[in-house]
C-alpha cells in the first residue's frame, strides 16, 4: 500500500520548466510516477518532453486530475507556490525547495493544517514508494520494495541508511524525507502515524538529528500509539555546542536538543538507537529475523 505516494499519485510539478524541475520531473516519470502536468506561469501551452505545462495549478488540476504537487521553484516563490497548490485542491504536496523563510512556514503550516492538506518538506528529498512512485529527488535505484518504512529529517543521510538496508537485502515501503528546517509540513509523528496505518509497513526506521524536540515527541508517540517496531538513528553526536538551539529554545522543549538527549529519550521508551548508519540497518535486520 505504501504512504503518501503510490500508483494513484497524479503529479503536477510546479517549476517543471526549470532545470531542476525538468531533471527530477522526468526522472520521476522515468521511474513510473504518473507525472501528468507541469506549472510555470507564462509557459502555459508548452510541454516538457510531452508533459503539458500550465500557467496555474488550478488549470493543471482541472485538466489533468493531478492530486499531488511537487514544488521545485526558487525559495522566494515557494510560499506562493504552496498556497496556490492548496487552493487548487491537491491533497499532497512535496516541497523540495530549500531556503524557505521560517516565518513563512509558520503561516503555511497553520494554513495547511486547517485545510487537511499533507505537505512533506520544504528543503527535503521527497517521498519514494519503491516499485510504485517517486516524487522528489531520492535516487530510487538504491532502494527496493519491502516492509521497512523510513522517515528522516535529512536527505543524503536517508539515502545512506536506505543503501545500508538494501545491502542487507531489506526493502522499503516508503522513504520519506521530511526536511530539516525549523518548521516542516509533516513532522516525525505525522509520518509515523501514516506508517502505523499502512498495511505494507511492518517496521520503521526514524533518522533524526540535533535541534528541536521532534525526536522526543516521536519517542512518546511510538511508545503510546505505535504497534510496529521502530529503530532510530540520530546524527550530530560530535556536533560542537552552540550549533544546537539557544537557551530559550531549550526551555520550550524541555530538551537540550542534543543527539545524546534524543538518544536517551528514545532509549528510555525502549526504542533502539543505532550509533552508525550501518549499525542502524543491522538493528532493523535483527528485528526482522527475530
Amino acid at each position: 500500500m505504501a504512504i503518501l505516494v503510490d500508483t494513484e499519485t497524479r503529479l503536477v510539478v510546479q517549476g517543471l520548466t526549470g532545470s531542476e524541475g525538468r531533471f527530477h520531473g522526468l526522472r520521476n516519470r522515468a521511474y513510473g510516477t504518473h507525472v501528468v502536468a507541469g506549472v510555470t506561469p507564462g509557459k502555459g501551452g508548452q510541454d516538457v518532453d510531452g508533459i503539458p505545462v500550465f500557467d496555474t495549478v488550478d488549470s493543471a488540476v482541472s485538466s489533468t486530475g493531478a492530486n499531488t504537487s511537487m514544488i521545485v521553484v526558487p525559495a522566494a516563490f515557494a510560499a506562493d507556490a504552496i498556497y496556490e497548490a492548496v487552493d487548487a485542491g491537491v491533497d499532497t504536496i512535496v516541497c523540495i525547495t530549500e531556503g524557505v523563510p521560517a516565518h513563512d512556514m509558520l503561516r503555511i503550516h497553520a494554513y495547511l493544517h486547517a485545510r487537511g492538506v499533507i505537505m512533506v518538506g520544504p528543503n527535503c528529498p521527497g517521498a519514494l514508494s519503491p516499485g510504485k512512485a517517486n516524487v522528489g529527488i531520492i535516487p530510487a535505484e538504491i532502494f527496493r520494495e519491502g516492509s521497512v518504512g523510513l522517515v528522516s529529517r535529512s536527505g543524503t543521510l536517508t539515502y545512506q541508511i536506505g543503501h545500508e538496508l538494501t545491502q542487507l537485502g531489506l526493502g522499503s515501503s516508503t522513504i520519506v524525507g521530511i526536511g530539516g528546517d525549523p518548521v516542516v509540513g509533516s513532522s516525525f509523528v505525522e509520518v509515523l502515524a501514516l506508517f502505523e496505518g499502512d498495511t505494507q509497513t511492518e517496521q520503521v526506521v526514524m533518522v533524526g538529528e540535533i535541534g528541536g524536540d521532534e525526536e522526543e515527541k516521536a519517542a512518546a508517540f511510538i511508545e503510546g500509539e505505535m504497534s510496529k517496531p521502530v529503530v532510530a538513528y540520530i546524527a550530530g553526536f560530535t556536533a560542537p555546542p552552540g550549533k544546537t538551539m539557544g537557551h530559550a529554545g531549550a526551555i520550550i522543549s524541555g530538551s537540550a536538543g542534543t543527539a545524546q538527549a534524543k538518544k536517551d529519550a528514545l532509549e528510555a521508551r525502549g526504542i533502539r538507537v543505532g550509533v552508525t548508519p550501518t549499525e542502524t540497518a543491522h538493528l532493523v535486520a535483527e528485528l526482522i529475523r527475530a
Binding site: S154, Y159, Q160, P182, A235, G236, I251, A259
Partner: protein
C-alpha cells in the same frame, strides 16, 4: 544570524522599544569620545556573539571619560569564550529598581511564536524555568492571526505586575517586540533584563536578537549587519563560496553533501577513533566548482592530515563531484590523501572518472564506515 547587543538595540529603537542612549567604540580613544558625548556615568559593554560577558569581566561601570577609556582598553581585545572583543558599547548607566525578563521565541514544536515574561530578570532564564516555573508566564501567538493587545495584558497581569503605569509600558513593549519579531523575521528576540528604573521607566537593558538566514534576502538592511570580521576566517571564506564550514579541532577533513550525512560522517569518523578537522557540507546542489571551493577551504587548515569525501548523490550528481575533485587536484596541487566514497546519482560515472585519473593520493572506498576508517588511518600515518 545572531546580532550584537548594539544592533539588536538599534532595532528595538526603530520599533519603539525604549533603550538607553549609547555609542559604539572600536578603540579606547573612541570610547573616551563617546563618554564625553554621553556625559555622566556609563557602562562599557563588550560586544561579542556569546553569553557570559559579565562573568568574564566584559561589562564595566565607569564614571569619567578617562575611566571609560581605561575600561575600554581592558575590554577591547579580551577573549570571551573564544570570541575576541573588537567593539564596545558605551551606554548611559541606569538606576535600576527592578529587573524583568521578556522574550519571543520561534517555538518549533508548537509551530507558533512564544511570548515569555517573568519578573525574575537579569538571571539565566533556565534557572527561573527550573526553580519557579509558575512565575515564567508563557503565551503563544497564532501566526495567521498575529498579536492582540490582550496577550500583552495577560503577560503582565499573570506575572503579577501591580503598577498600572508599569503594566501599560510593558504591554506596549510586548506589542512592539512582536512587531520587531515578525518585521525582522526573527528566530529569537530576548530582553534580559528588561529594567524598571527608579523613575518608573521600563527599558531594554540588553538584547539578544537572532534573525532567520533564509529570510535575509528580503531584509537587506539586516543582511548588512552581518559582521564578517567576527567569524572564523575559514568559515567566512566558506560562506562567501556558498559552502557550510565549521572548524573543529582534529586532523580528518570531512566533506559531505547534506547536513545530516555530513554530521553523521563527523560522528562516524569520531566513533572509529579519528578526530574530525571540520564539518563541511557541500549543500544540496554541489557542482564541480563547489567541490573545488570546499577543498580550497578545507586545505587551508594546517591541522588537516587527510580528507574524507562522503557523497551520496541525490540532487548532487557524483560525476560532478568527481570532476570537482579532479579539477581541484589540477589547480591546487593537493598532496594530502583524499578518501572518496561515492554513491547515488551518477555514482558509477563518478567512480569511473576518478579511477581513470589514477591520482596517487586518491583512495576510493565502497562504504561510509570503511571510508571513515581509511581516512583516520591515513591521517595517523601522515
Amino acid at each position: 544570524m545572531d546580532l550584537y547587543e548594539f544592533q539588536g538595540k538599534e532595532l528595538f529603537r526603530r520599533y519603539g522599544i525604549p533603550v538607553s542612549e549609547g555609542r559604539l567604540a572600536t578603540s579606547p580613544a573612541e570610547a573616551h569620545e563617546a563618554a564625553q558625548e554621553l556625559g555622566g556615568p556609563v557602562v562599557v559593554k563588550a560586544q561579542v556573539l556569546t553569553g557570559g560577558r559579565g562573568k568574564a569581566g566584559g561589562i564595566k561601570l565607569a564614571e569619567t571619560p578617562e575611566d571609560v577609556e581605561a575600561r575600554a582598553s581592558e575590554i577591547l581585545g579580551m577573549d570571551i569564550r573564544g570570541h575576541t572583543v573588537r567593539k564596545v558599547w558605551i551606554e548611559r548607566a541606569s538606576d535600576i529598581a527592578r529587573e524583568y525578563y521578556l522574550s519571543i521565541t520561534f517555538d518549533r514544536g508548537a509551530k507558533r511564536p512564544l511570548l515569555m515574561f517573568t519578573t525574575h530578570g537579569g538571571v539565566d532564564i533556565e534557572e527561573v524555568a527550573a526553580s519557579s516555573p509558575d512565575e515564567l508566564v508563557r503565551l503563544h501567538v497564532d501566526p495567521l492571526e498575529g498579536y492582540h493587545p490582550w496577550q500583552g495584558r495577560r503577560l503582565v497581569y499573570d506575572a503579577g505586575i501591580a503598577d498600572p503605569v508599569e503594566q501599560k509600558q510593558i504591554a506596549a513593549i510586548v506589542e512592539r517586540l512582536y512587531e520587531a519579531f515578525v518585521g525582522c523575521e526573527a528566530m529569537l528576540c530576548e530582553i534580559n533584563p528588561l529594567i524598571v528604573t527608579t523613575e518608573g521607566e521600563v527599558r531594554a537593558l540588553d538584547s539578544k536578537f537572532t534573525v532567520d538566514d533564509n529570510a535575509l534576502y528580503r531584509h537587506p538592511e539586516l543582511a548588512e549587519m552581518r559582521d564578517v570580521a567576527a567569524a572564523d576566517p575559514l568559515e567566512a571564506l566558506a560562506r562567501e563560496k556558498g559552502v557550510t564550514y565549521v572548524k573543529l579541532d582534529g586532523e580528518v577533513g570531512v566533506l559531505g553533501n547534506g547536513a545530516g550525512l555530513t554530521m553523521s560522517t563527523v560522528d562516524v569518523v569520531t566513533f572509529v577513533g579519528g578526530r574530525p578537522a571540520n564539518f563541511c557540507d557541500l549543500g544540496g546542489g554541489g557542482d564541480a566548482q563547489g567541490v573545488v571551493d570546499a577543498l580550497d577551504v578545507i586545505t587551508r587548515d594546517p591541522q588537516v592530515r587527510s580528507i574524507f569525501f562522503n557523497i551520496f548523490g541525490g540532487i548532487t550528481r557524483c560525476d560532478e563531484v568527481a570532476r570537482g575533485i579532479l579539477q581541484a587536484l589540477g589547480q591546487m596541487a593537493i598532496k594530502l590523501p583524499i578518501v572518496v566514497r561515492l554513491d547515488g546519482t551518477n555514482a558509477e560515472e563518478g567512480r569511473r572518472l576518478l579511477e581513470e585519473a589514477a591520482a596517487a593520493n586518491l583512495h576510493a572506498e565502497a562504504t561510509m564506515l570503511d571510508g571513515a576508517r581509511r581516512a583516520v588511518e591515513l591521517a595517523a600515518a601522515a
